[in-house]
């Protein structure tokens, strides 16, 4: 019985406190446009980083493994 009373009082207190909190809460202004643009910049930053890695690898491959370069490398290694 005593446990039930404590439970009821606790739930009531939580309900009242949260209601009071909501009623007297300061008005929060959500600028959706700013949020969306913020997300845009974050995603573009991520995209540019991933892009730089992938494109950088591609450019590296183009220069490292092009026909002339590989031939030249083979000649150097064979002369050694």
């Amino acid at each position: 019985m005593r446990n039930n009373s404590i439970l009821v009082v606790s739930v009531a207190a939580l309900t009242i406190l949260s209601t009071v909190g909501i009623v007297y809460a300061q008005e929060e202004v959500v600028n959706r446009s700013a949020l969306a643009w913020g997300l845009f910049y974050k995603m573009m930053t991520a995209a540019f980083i991933v892009g730089a890695i992938v494109q950088g690898t591609l450019v590296y491959i183009i220069f490292k493994f092009k026909e002339k370069k590989v031939k030249a490398r083979a000649e150097i290694s064979s002369s050694r």
Binding site: G51, F65, K66
Partner: protein
């Protein structure tokens, strides 16, 4: 084989032939002609947008007609016929069969495309290539819009017939000693895209009938006053045309798989992952159609499902890119024109893919929706990736088709002008979209930044135009006067070229 072009033949023998290489030649010539015509319309659009107000096009209605025919031409008369052309040439060779499974049906599919194209070009519709109602059902002027509907219907039927032919040729006519997992990835690509065509296109075919009966006033499928819903058309349209994007892309990816190992002189890094990525992409393609409609009032749950469905394509696309990079790594790469175009395509593929991730992310879609960002995004994909790989593959097939070699110097001019132009025009479109410039407009706000960005985009388009002039000169001149190619290994890469003399069927 196509080398037969080198031998003088009466034109009617090619026109009325049912042999796969003749039909393929017709498809390729048709697609290249329309690529140039569509490109000329694109240059007209970019010239009009060079300055705010009237530049060269007198009224908005004509502008609408030009971009409608441009879009329809590039998608249905350049990309699809090119895929059919390459498939017709190579699928019988790659699966070691004498011809396509149904040669007559093959020729019928090609000849259906001709009246389809004529209806679109003679009608000159102003509905845009999407033909959304209510404009297309209530306001669009006939007979232009009706001709567009019938033109697309015929082209759709032609695609379905072509797809059936490819599927049967690959699955039923493949040489019994050639396991499916030993065939070229281009064969897989054509198979997957043909299966997708069969699954996707009937929906649009139905939508076109509904659109037409709505225009006639005998139904009200898309008319709210008669209990219909214009948004329903968008669902039907995108159920076909989002998968269609992959129907355009997957064969291009297959062509890249055909070229990269050969010009890197290395086997494909992971054949299995390529097949898996094709199959998974083909399924995912059907799970993302409504990402084109995130601004049409879908529920949050629906939007989230389609956003996740779209993002699921990213790992599969990445698998292809990593597969290509790993194949090239450690190779001895020959940068002939086919390889240059493929690498250019891969570079632009990443840019367009990153733009696509932004489009499908819910809050960001509202920033980019219906702006020039979207125009930049899909052009970067279709011109920057798909068309680049197609042009590279055309260079690769040039000796097979003509028996001659093209001029590498002129091909270089073509590549660099087109590559720089493509990067400039479509990057500028992305940025001008972020400044809020809406798409499909004839005039725009005379804001200095928007004007400059439009002018940069137009300069990029002119660079592409210069590249294309070099391409046309090369195609015509070298087809007739190019040096005879060494048909065993025309590119000097130590790879066996296609068996151009093969005649005998395997049974």
């Amino acid at each position: 084989m196509v080398i037969e072009v080198a031998r003088p033949r009466p034109l009617w023998q090619i026109l009325f032939s049912t042999h796969h290489t003749d039909v393929a030649l017709l498809y390729l010539i048709t697609s290249i002609v329309f690529f140039m015509l569509g490109g000329a319309l694109a240059l007209t659009i970019r010239t009009e947008l060079l300055t705010p107000g009237t530049t060269i096009i007198g009224d908005a209605d004509l502008f609408n007609r030009i971009f409608t025919v441009h879009g329809t031409t590039m998608l249905f008369l350049w990309i699809l016929p090119f895929i059919s052309g390459v498939g017709n040439y190579l699928i019988p060779i790659l699966v070691k069969y004498k011809d396509m499974a149904y040669p007559r049906l093959n020729a019928v599919a090609y000849w259906m495309a001709v009246p389809g194209a004529a209806l679109i070009w003679l009608g000159w519709s102003d509905t845009s290539w999407m033909a959304y109602p209510p404009y297309s059902t209530m306001r669009a002027a006939g007979p232009a819009a009706d001709m567009w509907i019938f033109g697309l219907k015929i082209l759709g039927l032609s695609s379905i017939l072509g797809a059936i032919n490819f599927i049967v040729t690959i699955l039923k006519c493949k040489h019994p000693d050639l396991p499916m997992m030993k065939t070229s990835l281009l064969v897989w690509a054509i198979l997957v895209s043909s299966l997708m065509t069969l699954a996707a296109l009937p929906t649009f075919t139905a939508a076109l009938i509904m659109l037409y009966t709505d225009r006639l006033g005998v139904s009200g499928f898309f008319d709210p006053a008669r209990g219909g819903d214009p948004i329903a058309y968008q669902h039907l349209f995108w159920f076909t045309f989002h998968p269609e994007v992959y129907i355009f892309l997957i064969p291009a990816v297959g062509m890249a798989y055909e070229l990269i190992p050969k010009f890197s002189r290395k086997p494909i890094f992971s054949y299995g992952s390529g097949v898996i990525a094709f199959l998974v992409l083909s399924i995912i393609a059907f799970a993302s159609w409504a990402h084109h409609m995130l601004a049409t009032g879908l529920t949050f749950t629906e939007k989230t499902v389609f956003m996740i469905g779209t993002l699921a394509a990213v790992p599969m696309s990445a698998m292809h890119v990593f597969n290509w990079l790993a194949t090239m790594w450690g190779g001895r790469i020959k940068f002939a024109a086919p390889m240059k175009f493929v690498i250019g395509g891969i570079m632009l593929f990443f840019t367009s893919g990153a733009g696509g991730v932004v489009n499908t992310t819910l809050p960001l879609d509202f920033i980019t929706h219906d702006t020039y960002w979207v125009v930049g995004h899909f052009h970067m994909m279709l011109m920057g990736t798909v068309s680049f790989i197609f042009m590279g593959f055309l260079y690769y097939m040039f000796p097979l088709i003509t028996g001659r070699m093209y001029s590498e110097r002129l091909a270089n001019v073509h590549f660099w002008f087109t590559f720089i132009g493509t990067a400039v025009v479509f990057t500028a479109m992305h940025i001008v979209g972020l400044y809020g410039m809406p798409r499909r407009i004839w005039d725009y706000v005379p804001d200095p930044t928007i004007i400059v960005l439009n002018q940069i985009a137009s300069v990029g388009a002119y660079l592409i135009g210069i590249g294309m002039i070099a391409f046309i000169i090369l195609l015509i001149r070298d087809s007739v006067k190019g040096k005879p190619a060494d048909m065993k290994d025309p590119f000097g890469i130590g790879e066996i070229y296609y068996d151009y003399r093969r005649r005998e069927p395997h049974h």
